[in-house]
């Protein structure tokens, strides 16, 4: 994993949005894309089925321009949440610098959230990445749904956030919490630039 290249004066960070199917990962990227100024709007690559489910993955390159002499790029990916796309999820996780776990706040989706989190940990371990130290942020999405249908933030956090990482409530469908989440994971990833983690690669 390498995020800073002094030779080419480039900083590239790969951030993956992970979570169960229909939790709102693609919606997060769509909101980020919708907020990009025209001159920075590249292409958001999205492969979806007819029913709008992510088939392979979404990819949004964020070219932030030259910052402190470094050409800075964030690459945002989502994984397909559906269980049978396990191989794709593994592939997308290769070389990841940080993960946003997008949990579905609906009470009936709790088991799916847990399963997806376990899947994330297993896949990270398979990639030789330490799930206990990789930059991670939790996002509890769909907070706009009726109170009776969703778990409390505290409940979700207690069940899913055993690492006690930063967490955000979100309504990605209207942009709520999307940039807060992105800012947090970007900051965590960047904080490792100066840490010995750079030598890990």
């Amino acid at each position: 994993m390498s995020v800073v290249n002094y030779g080419t004066r480039e900083i590239t960070c790969k951030i993956v949005y992970y979570g169960p199917g229909r939790s709102g990962k693609t919606t997060n990227l769509q909101h980020v894309y919708s907020q990009l100024p025209e001159e920075r709007k590249g292409k958001m690559v999205s492969l979806a089925t007819e029913t709008d489910r992510t088939l392979f993955f979404d990819f949004l390159p964020l070219d932030l321009g030259t910052i402190s002499g470094f050409a800075t790029r964030f690459q945002l990916y989502t994984v397909p949440g559906q269980v049978y796309y396990a191989a794709t999820r593994k592939l997308v996780l290769q070389g990841v610098d940080g993960v946003v776990f997008v949990a579905d706040s609906q009470s009936r989706q709790l088991a799916e959230n847990i399963e997806s989190l376990q899947d994330l940990h297993a896949n990270l371990a398979d990639e030789g990445l330490d799930p206990r130290t990789l930059p991670l942020v939790m996002q509890y999405n769909k907070r706009d749904l009726p109170a009776g249908e969703i778990s409390s933030i505290e409940g979700l956090d207690e069940t899913l956030n055993f690492r006690d990482v930063p967490y955000f409530s979100a309504t990605a469908i209207n942009g709520g919490g999307v940039f807060e989440t992105l800012r947090s994971i970007a900051s965590l990833v960047l904080s490792r630039l100066s840490a010995p983690a750079v030598k890990e690669s």
Binding site: V4, Y6, G7, I11, T27, Q30, H31, V32, S34, Q35, L36, P37, R40, S46, A48, D52, L64, I67, S68, G69, F70, T72, I173, N174, G175, G176, V178, F179, L182, R183, A186, S187, L190, S191, L193, S194, V198
Partner: protein, 74 residues
């Protein structure tokens, strides 16, 4: 695929949220790059350039003799 996002008001006008994000991230990167820059930097790799044909009497530095020989054989 692309869905129209509803606007939330406040700083959600086109690009507003992104600008805030950029401002924060730029600061963060500047800080990190600065902290990394404490170790001696390797000089940038100089690409070999074909020296311009010197004016008469002007002495120019050649990167190495092999380059010069190749250049003079052209």
């Amino acid at each position: 695929m692309a869905k129209e996002s509803k606007k939330k008001g406040e700083s959600e006008e086109e690009g507003g949220e992104f600008d805030d994000f950029m401002a924060d991230i730029s600061q963060e990167i500047a800080k990190r790059v600065e902290s990394l820059d404490t170790k001696p930097k390797a000089p940038p790799v100089e690409r070999k350039k074909t020296p311009a044909v010197p004016d008469a009497g002007l002495i120019v530095e050649w990167p190495n003799i092999a380059d010069r020989m190749i250049e003079e054989m052209r």
